[in-house]
């Protein structure tokens, strides 16, 4: 029971991180109908910027945690958002009218380029940082196993919930959100109605990147270890989460993220760690074969 609880806690934390990244995938897919392969790399860049910022702050003597956190979050979100914006402008916008295949290949090329850009500029080695938020609650003890809930885990989940709520209200309440939904449904009509589609799409990418940045900061805090390749696997899993929840649906992305996080935590906890990635991909394949619209998505009807 205690062990189960621990896996549950771990799963929810992991799930929050996946969910934040998944939202980026789902929003972009919803609005331009393609998978942003480079999104995983955006997340990875966020983690790098976070670690650099923490290091600089540490060297500059700013050690009061809440302030440091706030600064790092802001800085990371800014830089990562800029990367997200640039990726859209450079690799996707010129191909907006072209064949699907061309845009996909451009996305993959972008992903490769970003990975290697970071590899070359920062080196292949893993970067580690000493823990910033320490401390935890001892929640429950039974069967010789101590269930702990660390402060960082609480922080991650709470921040995720807050961001989700903010985003949900942004999408449904503001004119930007309305513009987004309009573009998702009928881009041509949206243009005719005077919506600046380019700007809306750019903003979508920027928002997705910002959320991925937050995930990057979390991961830096949670695991303390990052490398240039982490975006690849995380991206794949986050996309699985987005598909599981229903591509195009924001609550779906979060739900999918949670489910995936739990599956991964329980799989590693009760079966084997080596095959946990296989479990995640297995879910992807199963969902796409049997229920491609995901849990919360609407089935897409082909317009012939």
């Amino acid at each position: 029971m205690a062990y189960f609880l621990q896996q549950l806690i771990n799963g929810v934390t992991l799930g929050s991180i996946y969910g934040l990244i998944a939202i980026g995938y789902t929003m972009v897919y919803g609005i331009i109908g393609m998978i942003n392969f480079a999104h995983g790399e955006i997340y990875m860049i966020g983690a790098f910027v976070a670690i650099i910022s923490f290091t600089i702050l540490g060297a500059a003597g700013i050690t009061w945690v809440p302030l440091a956190l706030l600064l790092v979050l802001v800085v990371t979100m800014l830089f990562t958002a800029l990367y997200g914006w640039t990726v859209e402008r450079v690799a996707y916008r010129p191909l907006r009218g072209s064949q699907r295949l061309a845009a996909l290949i451009s996305a993959i090329g972008m992903s490769l380029a970003l990975q290697n850009y970071v590899l070359l500029s920062q080196g292949a080695g893993v970067k580690a940082i000493s823990p910033i938020i320490e401390g935890r609650f001892d929640v429950y003890e039974a069967d010789n196993f101590l269930v702990t809930l660390s402060y960082i885990q609480i922080f991650i989940v709470i921040l995720t919930v807050v961001l989700m709520a903010a985003f949900a209200s942004l999408i449904s309440g503001t004119s930007l959100g309305r513009a987004q939904r309009a573009c998702e449904q009928d881009r041509t009509m949206a243009t005719l109605l005077g919506i600046d589609v380019d700007r809306t799409i750019s903003l979508t990418f920027v928002m997705g990147a910002a959320l991925a940045a937050v995930a990057g900061v979390m991961v830096t805090l949670y695991y303390g270890v990052i490398d240039f390749f982490m975006g690849f696997i995380a991206g794949l899993k986050a996309f699985t989460a987005a598909v599981l929840g229903g591509i195009g649906s924001l609550p779906g992305a979060m739900l999918g993220g949670m489910l995936l996080g739990m599956v991964e935590a329980f799989w590693s906890g009760y079966f084997t760690v080596e095959y946990k990635d296989v479990a995640a991909f297995g879910i992807l394949v199963l969902v796409l074969i049997f229920r491609p619209s995901g849990l919360l998505g609407r089935p897409e009807i082909e317009k012939v």
Binding site: I52, T55, A91, L104, I108, Q115, L120, L284, V285
Partner: protein
């Protein structure tokens, strides 16, 4: 006003480039004595600003004049068919020249072991490129996990040899069959999926195969891989210095032993298979199956309306592409006599995709050139070899923006009415 526009766009781009570069290029994380530290490398920022700014400025200038398009088209006389580029009018000669060069290569005075071995490596990638070309270029299915078939081919070849003692010529076709079957197995559930989803799922499959190979030690040897992979034989003649029961090649012909012979022999086998593959692909494009692949790529819904079964058609492309990937995997295994899961990562899939994309999807010669470039350039530009993947990734983006059908391809019809006599 282009100059002003170019200047402004250039400056803006430079600004963005600097902002982007600050965290990554401008600052470097170092693991020092006291833990992590950050160092400034502000020269890079200047470099980034200069390159990007200049580049963007030039792009704006060039965009308004048509120089690039003109250069590409070539100075075509009236003899050129409409829309043909310089390349397309003379490719027959280029192909013949390449073939002669390829056959003569091992006999050239400068051709030592290293040269022939590298040429073999190029041919392996050419095979992989042609195989993936069937799937991506002809049928339009974005397969990001092609490395899985490469791996299945390599491992079945190796394991059939080491576990069952089959020789080279037995293992090779069997490996192809295994890879093709794997292609059908993998393809069947997922080929209904739309482009993006198919891409991700195949990517996932590629990763699954790799993870399984690493972890299922009893079957695959795990990270240690498989050694003792069967080597090619010529009608039973082996290419080793001393042979157990059989006869050695050099003994039979009464010449001195040289490690070169095996390498050259393998090179010719691969060259032969590659030529067969080329023949096959060129033929099948003129046959209903090949046309169905291309039609499917163009418009699947129209294909269904014409009575073409999309699933079976896609499966055939997948399976055949997988088979060639399997052959390539076998050659890879036999070339070094040893394989391990490390060689079958997503990066390989990406490289093969880059070959197909850069060479021109659907273009056979394009794949050859791209494979040669991708293998040879890093050899010549050793200092820049670590920039290889960055260059590929960027090249893929640029090519898609500039010429979505690849550098060399402008499709020619596989069948013409002109020149056929009308019936009486």
């Amino acid at each position: 006003m282009t100059a002003v526009q170019a200047l402004r766009e250039g400056a803006l781009a430079a600004l963005v480039a600097v902002a982007l570069a600050v965290p990554m290029l401008g600052l470097k994380l170092e693991h020092g004595v006291g833990g992590l530290s950050v160092h400034g490398r502000w020269e890079f920022l200047l470099l980034a600003a200069a390159i990007v700014g200049l580049g963007r400025g030039l792009m704006v200038c060039a965009g308004t004049s048509g120089i690039f398009e003109g250069l590409w088209r070539g100075r075509g006389g009236k003899a050129a068919a409409p829309g043909q580029t310089l390349w397309q009018r003379h490719w027959g000669y280029a192909a013949l020249a390449a073939l002669i060069a390829a056959i003569a290569l091992p006999f050239m005075p400068f051709a030592d072991r290293y040269v022939v071995d590298t040429a073999t490596q190029v041919l392996i990638y050419v095979l992989l490129g042609w195989g993936l070309n069937i799937v991506v270029g002809l049928a339009g299915l974005l397969d990001l996990g092609y490395v899985a078939f490469y791996a299945v081919g390599a491992y079945s070849f190796a394991l059939l040899g080491t576990e069952f003692g089959f020789g080279f010529w037995m293992c090779l076709p069997l490996a192809g069959v295994f890879a093709a079957s794997f292609g059908i197995l993998l393809g069947y559930p997922v080929l209904r999926l739309r482009g993006d989803y198919l891409a991700i799922v195949t990517l996932g499959f590629g990763e699954i195969v790799r993870v399984v190979l690493v972890n299922w030690v009893d079957f695959s040897g795990g990270p240690n891989g498989v050694t003792g992979v069967p080597r090619p034989t010529l009608f039973g003649l082996e290419f080793t210095k001393r042979v157990g029961d059989g006869t050695a090649f050099h003994d039979y012909f009464g010449i001195d032993y040289s490690g070169q012979y095996r390498i050259i022999f393998l090179y010719f086998i691969i060259l032969g298979i590659a030529l067969l593959t080329n023949f096959f692909v060129l033929r099948i494009r003129k046959l209903p199956l090949g046309r169905a692949w291309e039609a499917l790529r163009e418009d699947e819904i129209a294909c269904r309306a014409l009575g073409i079964n999309p699933v079976n058609t896609k499966l055939s492309a997948f399976a055949l592409g997988a088979m060639f990937g399997g052959f390539a995997g076998s050659f890879f295994a036999t070339r070094s006599g040893f394989i391990s899961p490390e060689s079958f990562t997503f990066i390989e899939s990406a490289i093969i995709l880059a070959i197909v994309v850069l060479g021109g999807m659907g273009s056979q010669i394009g794949v050859v050139l791209a494979a040669a470039a991708i293998i040879l350039l890093p050899e010549f530009l050793r200092e820049f070899s670590e920039f290889r993947m960055l260059a590929f990734g960027s090249a893929m983006v640029l090519i898609m923006i500039w010429k979505p059908r690849g550098l060399l391809s402008r499709r020619q019809p596989t069948i013409r009415l002109a020149g056929r006599e009308a019936p009486p």
